[in-house]
Symmetry: C2
Subunit: 119 residues, 2 copies
């Protein structure tokens, strides 16, 4: 099962999924699965959010809160949840505001080790 199949499987298993992306912590995308016709530019948004992921990691380390595991950002139009796959890579899912955030978090948690094994 390649990257793309894992990303597709995550989207298919979660109500309200818009996209699932594997990207570097530097914001550079490795692969993305997009569901249907997203009305907003999810890819650009996720690149912008990657800066927040780096900021959260630095803030947590500076204040001895341990390594960053997960970051979730909810806006009026899209909810995103990101999980660290390795120190360099992050798995991100975008959902509609009414999507199943709990399931998305669960799916990212179980899928991250599978992707890490392929990196």
């Amino acid at each position: 099962m390649g990257f793309r199949e894992h990303l597709q499987s995550v989207c298919q298993s979660c109500e309200g999924a818009i996209a699932c992306t594997l990207m570097g912590v530097d914001g550079i995308e490795i692969d993305t699965h997009l569901v249907g016709n997203a009305t907003l530019d999810v890819k650009s948004l996720l690149v912008e959010y990657s800066g927040l992921f780096r900021g959260a990691r630095e803030a947590a380390e500076a204040h001895e809160a341990g390594g960053l595991a997960e970051l979730s950002i909810g806006t009026e139009k899209v909810v995103t949840v990101a999980r660290l796959v390795s120190p360099e890579y992050v798995l991100v899912m975008a959902l509609e505001p009414g999507g199943n955030l709990g399931k998305a978090r669960y799916l990212l948690r179980v899928t991250a080790p599978k992707l890490m094994a392929e990196l």
Copy 2:
């Protein structure tokens, strides 16, 4: 019921709560309820996180994702969830990693309007 009582009530109703804070989006604290003896400096961490909240708001607006509603950051030692109370104020809860994040999100959602009415 004053600010402090609301913050205390939120902590008492949520398993694994460490602290609940009402703060300006600029990171300046209005009031905080701390549970027991936190092992890390939660207040300083939340001030640092407030910068991420501002960053997430700017990123979301720039990419037409709508207004920011919620931001959650999970590390090895502490999970925080922040919700906008008004454009200037944010309600933040810190939890132990095994704490009830779903309930924390619910409590912030129902408590935010009560606090807004008093601001």
